[in-house]
């Protein structure tokens, strides 16, 4: 191995930062609750945050199919609307926009980050020696408006910046919890069991006070994916080596800690895969997570493995299939160093969010033949076979007093089915999503946080199309 002088300088700098960090064994400040009322057996509290970020995205526009007459299967990329809204087209010989060229994206927004404005109210009550009750409600709202007016689909509405649009609050969280020495039961709407270990790594070590990539919810009937116009919240590292755990309706029982080991078993409302061809569910989705925690002075370890399973059905049809996913990983804190990594695999496990609908998850080319025994006539039925999807990610963070710095990488891959290869001349399917991120957060105090993060997101399709984007986010967050 040979090092050039530039590499050596970088290593010296890194070593210096590490040495400095070792002297500053500080823990990153966390947000706190404010007790607003207290009785003998109960207390009520509020918590929340407000933030604003300037976000600059630049890079390639949504690609043009490489094979004439073919198309890209929806579900991946950024600004995939038809017609695209944020593309800066190349010009043809006549000086007009040339839609046959990919074009560029350059866009600045002022918006909410990975977490939008949040208002939380909760209360705890001691009922007896083995039973405590808690409830918590949280409302989320971005600072940027929804550009959808009335009931019309967003694609037919004017772009962002519509000044008179209101903000729709999202009743993101609302759950009750009963807990004691026997464990805990949680019911209502809360962060789901599957893949939450991955989300915790992203929040704690990278984007908790940042923004990341704009992989966002785009409304009813559309997959969550890259979009610069519709409101967030932003997606952090979701979609790049990890699927983000989501808030969902359901119930979960968690055992007490047995030597650091906990088991959580949850049942959640079924998730429909409307754009992936599976619009109906009949049963809830079981999810489970096994965790191990070790906490000694100067060393913390959290291991997790989670899984989920659900049957899906074609709306009013006879075809059925199953989605499943497994996620795993660890996070370690040694002095000022925090490292987290993990991965996921499954079918229908989601592209950007866990068990979320996305047309990239299924093949439109898979069919099965049905023979009428009376006539011998053969008809074909679409089976929308799920493609295997997997990913892995890793994040490193150094805590240097009031400053956190870090970065990470993640890769999500979607495998082609045999039918996809046969149909490759007409349909290019999503192949991979790669993300590289870096972040720095300065905690002015326990309540005020300044964040700066960078995200490089790269998409590849099986037809050879690519889209590469860079996102720089800088902003401020107040937590309480």
């Amino acid at each position: 191995m040979t090092w050039n002088s530039r590499t050596e300088r970088w290593l010296h700098t890194a070593a210096g930062f590490t040495a400095a960090a070792a002297c500053l064994l500080a823990t990153a400040p966390a947000s706190a609750e404010i007790t607003v009322a207290k009785g003998e057996t109960w207390e009520a509290y509020v918590a929340g945050r407000l933030g604003a970020f300037v976000s600059y995205t630049f890079g390639d526009a949504y690609p043009v199919p490489k094979v004439a007459g073919s198309m890209l299967q929806p579900g991946g990329g950024l600004d995939a609307a038809t017609p695209p809204r944020d593309v800066i087209n190349e010009k043809d010989a006549m000086g007009k926009a040339d839609p046959t060229k990919q074009g560029k994206i350059k866009k600045i927004r002022v918006r909410s980050g990975y977490y939008p404005n949040i208002m939380t109210l909760g209360a705890r009550k001691t009922v007896g020696p083995s039973l405590k009750l808690k409830f918590q409600l949280s409302m989320w709202g971005t600072i940027e408006p929804d550009d959808t007016k009335g009931n019309k689909p967003p694609e037919f509405q004017p772009a962002n910046g519509t000044r008179d649009n209101s903000i729709k609050a999202d009743f993101r969280e609302g759950y009750l919890q009963a807990f004691g020495g026997w464990g805990s039961f949680t019911g209502g709407r809360f962060l789901g069991t599957f893949a939450r270990g991955l989300t915790e790594i992203d929040v704690m070590y990278a984007h908790g006070y940042g923004a990341g990539f704009p992989n966002i919810s785009r409304g009813f009937g559309q997959p969550a994916q890259g979009d610069l116009t519709l409101p967030g919240p932003m997606g952090g590292m979701n979609g790049f080596g990890m699927v983000g755990a989501t808030y969902e309706g359901g119930g979960e029982y968690t055992t007490p800690s047995l030597g650091g080991v906990k088991l959580a078993l949850g049942l959640y409302d079924g998730s429909s895969y409307l754009s992936a061809g599976w619009g109906a569910t009949r049963t809830p989705r079981p999810e489970a997570e096994l965790t191990y925690d070790l906490d000694t002075s100067g060393f913390k370890l959290h291991l997790f493995g989670s899984g989920g399973f659900q049957k899906v059905y074609q709306a009013s049809g006879i075809e059925s299939s199953s989605v499943w996913g497994a996620a795993y990983g660890a996070r370690i804190e040694v002095g000022p160093v925090r490292v987290g990594g993990g991965g996921f695999t499954g079918k229908g496990v989601g592209i950007n969010n866990a068990f979320d609908d996305n047309p990239s998850e299924t093949s439109t080319s898979t069919m099965r033949s049905v023979t009428d025994p009376a006539t011998g006539m053969v008809t074909m039925a679409s089976t929308y076979e799920f493609r295997p999807t997997s990913g892995f990610m890793g994040i490193l963070q150094l805590v240097l007093g009031p400053v956190d710095i870090g970065g990470g990488i993640g890769l999500t891959t979607i495998s082609q089915l045999a039918a996809d290869k046969t149909a490759a001349a007409t349909l290019s399917t999503l192949k991979s999503q790669t993300g590289i991120t870096a972040e720095a957060t300065y905690h002015v105090n326990e309540s005020l946080h300044l964040g700066l993060d960078f995200f490089n997101g790269a998409y590849k399709w099986t037809g050879g199309e690519t889209q590469k984007l860079n996102v720089i986010n800088g902003g401020v967050t107040v937590t309480f």
């Binding site: 709407r189 309706g249 359901g250 409302d269 429909s272």
Partner: protein, 405 residues
């Protein structure tokens, strides 16, 4: 729950969070005969089709429903915040806002937001002279029977999931649609007299509603009224009520107008541990579930020489509750009926087959662990019958927990 008390103001909060598991099973919605108007449970997504000999769906038959959900109940997650203070004499000023949100999303789309519903927001001034209420609050017409459904049957339960489809978000409907025509939270103003020997009269003026798809135009507010009589002793409580509403509606771009009108009446009584309530409604253009919401069953078809003629709707329900210590045993029965017009029997009108009746039978057991924590198991059988012979029967089995404060 009082949060802050600082003379003269008091700030309080109340609310609930809950989770229910539900299992719906029975018939999918039939396709005919004729064009079914109103009623039933939309099964376009969740139908399990009967099969042809070749294994393909037989779309000539209704098929079945068989679906489980985790969702919110009759009242979803609610956060209420209010303030109150004295403003001289015996007058108390109060303001309350309530935000509602289900735990389930639209059409089971996992990553779409739960849109917060600013369901209630009103101010209230109360004194010896009566009570004045303004803002968005529960309206008067059909209020009494809705209260009965909440108090004696589904306040901590689920009941009917709604007719829009088993995949839709709630909140669920309890016995609404089955003899119970629910009032709704409406913008308006209301004056309620002080109690005169137990008698009170409430008069309200509410923002008009358009009857979607038939009589969309409105020009004037909707008056509503309710007369109530309350009698209380140590072991006996009685609440009698009668209410009504009417509203002029217009056909946009046309010269015709029509009037939506309805009356409701009923009672609830508490004799020791036994509680019973009954009520009903009668009128035209009232809808099937929520008062004045509009329904395909409300009006006749376009070939009617009398225009968009309102059909008559009526309903009645009986609900009973027995309080056994920390356990409530609840049961209810109700039926909503749509009456045919003369036009509906003519050759031009017979193609449309409105809902004839919606019959519901419900039962619930609620265990109150303490004043805050409630565990419910409830069942509802919904039976829909259309003119022309089509039928749909769906059963709902629900269980869940609610935490209130």
């Amino acid at each position: 729950m009082t949060l802050v008390k600082s003379d003269p103001w008091e700030v309080y909060t109340s609310g609930r969070v809950n989770l229910f598991f539900g299992y719906a099973f029975g018939d999918a919605k039939p396709g005919g005969p004729g064009t079914l108007k109103g009623g039933g449970v939309d099964s376009s997504s969740d139908k399990i089709p009967d099969l042809l000999p070749n294994g393909m769906p037989d779309n000539s038959k209704p098929g079945k429903l068989n679906k489980m959900r985790f969702h919110s109940g009759f009242v979803p997650n609610v956060f209420s915040l209010g303030v109150r203070r004295k403003i001289g004499g015996d007058t108390t000023l109060r303001a309350q806002m309530s935000i509602w949100g289900t735990i389930e999303t639209q059409a089971q789309r996992k990553f779409v937001p739960v849109i917060t519903d600013f369901r209630e927001g009103f101010l209230e001034a109360e004194g010896k002279w009566g009570t004045f209420t303004a803002g968005r609050f529960g309206s008067l017409f059909s209020r009494g029977v809705t209260e009965t459904n909440f108090l004696y049957l589904h306040g901590y339960g689920v009941g009917f999931w709604g007719g829009g489809g088993t995949y839709n978000p709630g909140p669920t409907a309890g016995l609404i649609g089955f003899g119970v025509l629910a009032n709704s939270f409406s913008p308006g103003v209301m004056y309620t007299t002080p109690s005169l020997g137990g008698l009170k009269v409430a008069l309200g003026l509410f923002d008009p509603v358009s009857i979607a798809g038939s009589w969309d135009g409105t020009r004037t507010p909707r008056p509503e009224a309710e007369a109530m009589y309350d009698l209380k002793s140590d072991s006996f409580k009685l609440h009698l009520y009668a209410n009504g509403a009417f509203q002029k509606v217009y056909d946009p771009g046309q010269t015709q107008d029509n009037t939506v009108k309805g009356v409701g009446a009923g009672f609830r009584a508490e004799i020791g541990n036994f509680h019973i309530g009954a009520g009903g409604h009668y009128g035209q253009g009232l809808g099937l579930y929520y008062a004045l919401e509009g329904s395909d069953a409300d009006v006749s078809g376009p070939l009617n020489p009398k225009g968009k003629e309102f059909r008559t709707a009526e309903g009645y329900s009986v609900v009973a509750q027995y309080v056994l210590g920390q356990v409530d045993l609840n049961a209810g029965f109700g039926q909503s009926i749509i009456k045919l017009l003369p036009f509906d029997s003519t050759p031009e009108g017979v193609a449309d087959r409105p809902i004839k009746s919606q019959t519901g039978i419900a039962a619930a057991v609620v265990y109150h662990l303490n004043e805050s924590f409630h565990i419910d198991v409830d069942y509802l059988r919904a039976m829909f019958a259309w003119y022309g012979g089509a039928k749909e029967d769906v059963n709902y089995l629900n269980t869940g927990v609610t935490l209130t404060w």
